[in-house]
C-alpha cells in the first residue's frame, strides 16, 4: 500500500467529479431542497420535522454516495481503466481508499452545507452535539460508498446500477426505523431490519438527535456502521480481479 497512490487516486476521483459541475450542484443542492420541503410539508406538525430531520440529514450522504460510487466504479470497470490500473504497481486497497477519501471529503462538504441550512433557517434542533450528527453523516457517506463499490460488480450497465438504489437502499430506509419505530413492525420485519446496516446508522443518528442514551446500544450502532463499511470494502476488493477471463 502506498499513500502516494491513494492520494493520487483521491485527487483523480475529485477531479473527475469537478469536471461534472451539474452533478456537484445536484449533490449539494438536492439534500438542502429536500430538507426545506420536508420542513414545509410538516409545517403544521413541527414535532415530526424535529424528530426525523436530524436522522434524515445524516442519511442523505449514504444515498447519494451509494449512487455516485456505484456509477463511477461501474464506468471504471467497463471502460477498461480498471484493467489498465491492474497492470500498474498498485494495491487494490490504494484504489478503494482513494475512492473512500475522495467521497468522504465530498460528503463532508455536502453535510456541512445541509447542516448550515437545517440548523440555521430551518431551526432544526438536536439534543446531542451537532458535530456528532455531521461526523455520523460523513461515516454514512463512506458506508454508502463502500456498498456502492461492492454492488457495482454486479451491474453491467448504468441502468442496472441505478436500479440497485431502489433495490438495496429503499428497503433499508423503510426498515431502519425512520418511518415506523422498529418495535411497531411485524416480527419478521424486525428480523430483517436487524441485519441491515442502515438500521444501526439510523439508530446512532436518532440517539444523537434525542440526546442519548449513549449506552451499549449506541456503541453497537457505531461499531456495526464501521464494521459494515469495512466488510463491504473487503468484499469490494475481492471483486476487483487482477486477472479476468
Amino acid at each position: 500500500m502506498s499513500p502516494r497512490v491513494t492520494a493520487a487516486t483521491a485527487v483523480r476521483v475529485l477531479t473527475q467529479l469537478r469536471r461534472d459541475p451539474r452533478t456537484v450542484v445536484l449533490l449539494l443542492a438536492v439534500p438542502c431542497v429536500l430538507l426545506i420541503l420536508l420542513e414545509e410539508v410538516f409545517a403544521g406538525l413541527p414535532a415530526v420535522f424535529q424528530s426525523i430531520g436530524g436522522p434524515l440529514l445524516g442519511l442523505f450522504p449514504f444515498i447519494s454516495m451509494f449512487l455516485v460510487t456505484s456509477i463511477t466504479m461501474l464506468r471504471e470497470r467497463v471502460s477498461g481503466t480498471l484493467e489498465r490500473l491492474m497492470t500498474l504497481p498498485l494495491h487494490k486497497l490504494d484504489i478503494l481508499l482513494g475512492y473512500a477519501i475522495a467521497f468522504a471529503l465530498f460528503a463532508a462538504v455536502q453535510v456541512t452545507l445541509v447542516s448550515v441550512v437545517a440548523f440555521g433557517p430551518l431551526d432544526l434542533r438536536v439534543a446531542g452535539p451537532k458535530w456528532a450528527v455531521v461526523v455520523l453523516a460523513v461515516g454514512n457517506a463512506v458506508l454508502g460508498m463502500s456498498l456502492g463499490l461492492f454492488v457495482s460488480a454486479f451491474a453491467t450497465t448504468e441502468f442496472q446500477a441505478v436500479q440497485f438504489m431502489p433495490a438495496l437502499v429503499f428497503p433499508q430506509l423503510l426498515l431502519c426505523g425512520l418511518f415506523v419505530a422498529r418495535e411497531d413492525m411485524a416480527e419478521w420485519l424486525q428480523v430483517i431490519s436487524a441485519v441491515l446496516p442502515l438500521t444501526y446508522a439510523y439508530d446512532a443518528l436518532a440517539k444523537v438527535s434525542a440526546g442519548g442514551p449513549y449506552g451499549a446500544r449506541f456503541v453497537l450502532d457505531v461499531a456495526v456502521t464501521v464494521g459494515a463499511t469495512l466488510l463491504f470494502l473487503a468484499l469490494g476488493a475481492a471483486t476487483l480481479r487482477r486477472r479476468t477471463a
Partner: protein
Amino acid sequence: MSEPAIRVESLRVVRGGKVALDGISVEVAPGIVTGLLGPSGSGKSTLMRAAVGVQRIDSGRITVLGQAAGSLALRSRVGYRTQAPSVYADLTVRENVRYFARVLGVSDGGVGEAIDTVGLGEEAGRVANRLSGGQLARVALAMALLGEPEVLVLDEPTVGLDPVLRRDLWDTFHALAGRGATLLVSSHVMDEADRCDELLLLREGRIVATGSPDELRRRTGAGDLDEAFLRVIDEGEA
C-alpha cells in the same frame, strides 16, 4: 543468443467457451520491435493481456524478463496500451497521464515528455471526451510510455492515425528499441509488418509463422507480406 524478454510456453486460454490461444509457445527477443500480426479474433489481444498479467490462463505459462507475467515487480517495468484506449473521458490529457505518472512514481517532467512524444503537447489541457479517436489512442500510448519501461506491450497503437503520425510513432518505437527496450506491437495491417524487426503471425489461436519480414518473403517466395502470410496459411493447411 540472449535471454528472451518474453517467453510463452504451451499457453492455452479459453475465452467465452472458445479457444483463444491453443497452447502456443513462442519467444520475444529483447531490444527489438516484434510485430504481432494476424486477423482480428486471432488471439493477439489475448496474448498481450496474458503478457501483462490480466488474462486468466487455463494452462501453460508466460514469463517476462524472467518473472511470472503480471507480478508486482514487473508492473513498473512493463508498459501496456490496451486495444480500446483506456482513458478517463472526463479528465484532460495531462490529468490522465499525470495520474498514471503518480502511481508509477514518475516526475511531472516525465508527464510532459510522454505527452510530447505522442505529439499531443498542444492538446494537453483538453478533456479526453473532446478528443478524436486518434488523439485518444495517443493519450493511452503516452500513458504506456511513462517511466521508460523495459518492455512495451502495445495493442494496435497506430489504428486510425494519419500516415505521418504513424511513421513518427514507428520511428519512436525503433528509437525506444535502440535504447534497449523490447516492444511487442500488434497490428492487423500488413503494411505495418514491414516496420518490425521480427514478426509473429497468429491465426485462430496458433502461431503460424515467425521470422523477420525479409525471411518470411524469402521463405515463401512472396512479393509482399500479405501474400507471404497467405502462403504460410496454405502450407499449413496442405
